[in-house]
Amino acid sequence: MTGARRKKKLDPFRSLTVFSTSVILIFILLPLVEMVLQPSLDSLQETIQDKDVLRAIWLSVYASGLAALISFIFGTPFAFLLARKTFFGKRFVESVVDLPVMIPHPVVGIAILSLAGREHWLGKVMQAVGVRVMGSVTGIVAVLLFVGLPFYINAAKAGFEAIPERLEKVSRSLGASMTGTFLRITFPLAWRSMLAGMIMCTARAISEFGAIVIVAYHPMTAPVMIYERFTAYGMKYSQPVAVWLIFVSLLLFLFLRLVSLPKRARHDSR
């Protein structure tokens, strides 16, 4: 007890903060709550027992995870380069990385489909080798990789930038190779940002619809199935699928975020 009574003054900044927080939370939660509460428990049970639905949700999670993994493998060296080096045209390259975010989704699908067809030299080569893009998981992962890469690269880059280059230089001066430095100094310090980037990439990929539906209608991912059921049967049959997809995604992301909590926060959460 401090003893002194604070004057009760309505702080406008604080009110604005509280107001905007509530408005945003309501804006996000209202449609979601409405959608989650709409289906009956019976229809939810019936839906999760439908093999097609299970296959679609699994395909969404699997393809998105694969896209995130590929982003991690190819995006990490690129993100490291962007974080550490300055070179002519760097701003341009950074803008290129951001491009996929603003391209309309059907355009992404059309572009990838055109590249993969026998009308294009690349498509001719791929089809001769036996790589199928249209209507295949390969095509879906290609699309998801395209839309998800910027999220991973930007998050990883920010993570690397937050690590003082000094530490790496010290390690090098003590005789470690670049690879050794990266694995023993940079990576342990940056892995949380990289994981957060992979989570964002996966999240972006799971929700993708417009690009996938152009490249592959079958095999069906969950968003495509939700749309197909909506247009063929109506909301009553599409919403349960949406609810299950949200539920599975929530579990996945919650788990990943818990895993990435800093040790201190996990222990003293008072």
Binding site: A116, G117, E119, G123, Y217, H218, E228
Partner: protein, 329 residues
């Protein structure tokens, strides 16, 4: 000084908000005269031309078209209650079964079509294919061929009917099953016109399409005998032998579609948002030198004049449409 700056910012912000409100309100004022037309994917090119000509004749009207598999579009009206003024279907039976009587009263048959097998220069065996060997080529390994989703698009179930009729006509038992075995699910698309872009990019070798669509999109095509191409009403008795099961209103329920010559139907939806605008557009579409002429020029033979099956249905039509139709079953 600081106070004046804050006030300047506030007035500027309010100015933006006011401008935005005014713009949206003026957009509202101009929205009088919208006509919403749901139609089959295969009518896209002719209807786009009709839209342009009609809007130039009546500058206050805005025709808003939405295309898709006719079954799907009809369900959007009947099950999802999406607002629409007009529905034009590639299969008049879809209007009869899904829209009449709850969402429509009458159904005018206005055009025909036939199914052809489309391909491009890039298609495998393009140099070889003809009306005698097409069913052999479709069965060959590595040939990528497809059709639209029978559950959402009449062209889809009609493609399957052509295959069934081919089995009977060429006397090749098991042909249908053999061909379907060479057509994985990945080669099915919800709307038949999507197959066109797959053909053109070289992702698909052969696709089942309407003759009008092949003509409108400059595709090569194989013309099939009248007995199996669903284009000649005189062959209706043979067409009837083809039956395809498609999904019904709920997952797990089924409807059987029976083969018949391709006949397109059009109707005005009950409680249409803009009945006057809809009627004006229908008068244009169904007139011999208006919409019907455009259909003919684009490779889709129209009924001139359009038809209704019974005198009773003719009397249900608005007066201005009655003189454009004849009673013929």
């Amino acid at each position: 000084m600081k106070k004046v700056r804050t006030w300047k910012k506030i007035t500027l912000a309010l100015g933006f908000v006011a401008a935005a409100l005014m713009l949206s309100l003026s957009a509202h004022a101009a929205s009088h005269g919208k006509v919403i037309v749901f139609h089959a994917g295969s009518l896209t090119v002719p209807f786009a031309k009709m839209e342009k000509i009609f809007e130039s004749k009546y500058p206050g009207t805005d025709i808003l078209r939405e295309a898709g598999g006719s079954t799907k579009m009809a369900r959007m009206i009947s099950e999802l209650n999406k607002p629409a003024d007009i529905m034009a279907s590639a299969d008049y039976a879809v209007i009869d079964k899904s829209l009449i009587p709850a969402k429509a009263q009458w159904n005018v048959r206005f055009a025909t079509n036939q199914l052809v097998l489309c391909y491009t220069d890039r298609s495998r065996f393009a140099g070889e294919i003809n009306a005698q060997n097409w069913y052999d080529i479709l069965g060959r390994e590595g040939v990528v061929w497809g059709h639209s989703d029978p559950n959402l698009d009449p062209c889809g179930y009609r493609s399957l009917m052509v295959l069934q009729l081919a089995e009977k006509h060429y006397d090749k038992p098991g042909l249908y099953d053999r061909l379907i075995a060479n057509r994985p699910k990945e080669n099915i698309r919800p709307k038949s016109v999507e197959l066109v872009s797959l053909l053109k990019t070289g992702n698909m070798d052969y696709a089942w399409e309407y003759l009008s669509v092949a003509v409108q999109h400059d595709l090569k095509y194989v013309v099939l005998p009248d007995e199996i191409n669903l284009g000649n009403y005189r062959q209706d008795d043979f067409y009837k032998e083809a039956k395809v099961k498609v999904t019904g209103k709920k997952p797990g329920t089924w409807i059987t579609r029976t083969g018949g010559s391709v006949t397109y139907g059009i109707t005005m939806v009950k409680e249409a948002p803009n009945p006057d605008g809809a009627l004006a557009f229908l008068e244009y579409v169904l007139s011999p030198d208006g919409g019907l002429k455009i259909l003919k020029e684009m490779g889709q033979p129209p009924f001139v004049p359009c038809r209704v099956p019974t005198q009773e249905m003719k009397s249900m039509l608005p007066a201005s449409l009655q003189k454009l139709v004849e009673v013929k079953n």
